[in-house]
Amino acid sequence: MTMHADHISLTIGKKQILDDVCFTARPGEVSAIVGPNGSGKSTLLKAMVGELPCDGKLTLNGRSLQGYKPWELSSLRGVLPQATTLAFPFTVLEVVRLGLAAGIDANHPDRPFEALARVDLDGYAGRLYQELSGGEQQRVQLARVLAQVGQPRRDGHPCWLFLDEPVSSLDIAHQLTVMDLAREFAQGGGGVIAVMHDLNLTAMYADHVHVMAAGHTAGAGPAAEVLTDARLSDVYGCPLRTGIVPPDVGVFVLPQTARA
């Protein structure tokens, strides 16, 4: 009952973007994919949800991904893309309801409002999506995904959230709100796979970290083992040190302080 990607390779045009990547995420855990810009994080996520054709084997809950019907997958798995454009002036409520219709509890009248409340968007239901700020739009999209796949388990099977940079345009308080949601989902028995840029939040919330560099896996395992000085410095190409407060740094704020 895992999300397993076995020896994934992917080329677009002549460019090899993923090279023999193996990735496993377990239910009950938050799995983070980190790495520099262009290292293939989004591409790996898209390959794992079947958006991009790739070489290799993908299994979800022990079944080959190809074996699922579209509507089976939509009640089992929610996908939050890195960016979403909306073609027509839908309201927030209408966007969230689209997700609801894809899930199992279609047309439950309270679900969209509950999902909006979970991402701290009470009272936004009647606003036009296109008139919201970037961070608000991102939270609406997350609410849509939660309306689709809100329960961490269904019929004894774990459900899955695939989130591409769910907190990248959020303020620090909402970053924590959203990561708490992810952790809650995992603790309920579901699986969460999130592409992350913020290493502090990753260290705080991820049970499993997968580091990407130039289309390869540069390390995978528990955060404490993977996020090492040597690996981070190497992958990001700048000298980085973990757990150190350099002398005379002035002000700094760690998200950890809010949950300490």
Partner: protein
């Protein structure tokens, strides 16, 4: 824009539920049915000939014999024309809305992006070269040759258009509009060559057809167009949820359980069928497909579940209004209805562009 109840930012516990636009849209449907009914009665009552609809109705109800004039004018001329007009108006408006949903852009309209021209080319080919078909085939298709050819032309041009302007699930609006211009020009050029080759009888058929007029409406035409258009409209309401999801992009729609490729094929097929039959029956009538969905989106939002049925109703009523103008403004002569819809619709189109320039510069 419809006023929605303003959300109050302080109201965190009791979630202020906004007015559901689906309810508004259903109320609007009732209004539109009324509007359509009024338009039907007015079009039945008014016209070049001075007969009294009420007089005829009274006679009909009391079982009295109608005069030949009354029967011919009401039953043989006005009624089939009204039916064809409503069908074509509904077909144009719904195809416009479906195409806009498919291309994810409110400017996509079969008439503007070459689908109408492709369907027209098909129709012209069938008129000019139809005689070359084996006699067996000719008698098999009968009056269906032109609609079928128009459908094939419309379908082909929609496919080409979609191929050219959509890459990796994203439609480039600029490419779509430019490809539409090119397709339209190509279809126009080929049509021109065919017209040049046509003999006198064919030329008369062509002129009549290309004026974009409902004057040739007959029961037979309505009976051919009716089932196809009604099926296409019914089919497209079944596409509504998929089109809504598509507004978030193809990938997102797929993750919401929509079989995207099949849905797109069905949408293209229904647009081509409805446009093809409409064009075959009445020639090119522009702007209905863009104005009607746009007005409805402003009124009750872009949800295709209500947009498509309401577009059918408003499209039918609007085209009846346009036909009334075309029949009466220079009576006893008639103005081609395509001119009326262009005069009414083109300014609305420009207004959309003016208000939302961002649509094209993306």
């Amino acid at each position: 824009m419809v006023a929605l109840s303003e959300p109050s930012p302080h109201n965190l516990t009791d979630q202020a539920r906004p007015l559901d636009r689906r309810i508004l849209a259903r109320r609007l449907s009732v209004l539109l049915v009324g509007l359509l009914a009024i338009a039907v009665v007015v079009n039945l009552a008014l016209g070049a000939s001075d007969i009294s609809l009420w007089g005829a109705l009274g006679k009909f109800l009391s079982g009295e014999e109608l005069t030949t004039l009354e029967r011919v004018v009401l039953w043989d001329i006005r009624l089939p024309r009204i039916i064809l007009c409503v069908l074509v108006g509904a077909a144009l408006a719904v195809s416009g809305a479906v195409m806009q949903g498919l291309f994810r852009n409110p400017l996509a309209d079969p008439g503007l992006v070459g689908v109408g021209a492709g369907a027209g080319l098909g129709a012209i080919i069938s008129i000019v070269l139809g005689g070359l078909l084996p006699v067996g085939l000719q008698s098999l298709f009968g009056s269906y040759v032109t609609p079928v050819a128009a459908f094939v032309g419309g379908w082909g041009s929609t496919l080409v258009l979609y191929r050219v302007s959509t890459r990796g699930g994203r439609t480039s609006v600029a490419t779509m509009l430019l490809a539409g211009i090119a397709l339209g020009a190509l279809a126009g050029a080929v049509s021109g060559i065919l017209v040049y080759m046509a003999d006198d009888q064919q030329l008369r058929d062509l002129t009549f057809w290309s004026m974009g007029s409902l004057a040739g409406a007959t029961w037979e035409k309505s009976m051919i167009a009716g089932p196809v258009i009604l099926l296409a409209i019914a089919g497209s309401t079944w596409l509504a949820h998929g089109l809504n999801c598509l507004a978030l992009g193809e990938a997102a729609a797929a993750h919401m359980g929509i079989p995207v490729q099949r849905m797109k094929n069905a949408a293209i097929f229904s647009v081509a069928a409805a446009t093809g039959v409409a064009v075959a029956a009445t020639g090119g009538i522009g702007f209905v497909g863009i104005v009607v969905p746009h007005v409805l989106r402003l009124a009750t939002g872009p949800d295709h579940g209500t947009l498509l049925p309401n577009a059918a109703l408003l499209g039918g009523a609007l085209l009846l209004g346009a036909d009334l103008i075309s029949r009466t403004i220079i009576a006893p002569a008639e103005l081609p209805i395509g001119i009326v819809t262009a005069v009414l619709g083109a300014p609305v189109f420009l207004w959309i562009l003016l208000k939302r320039r961002g649509l094209v510069d993306q």
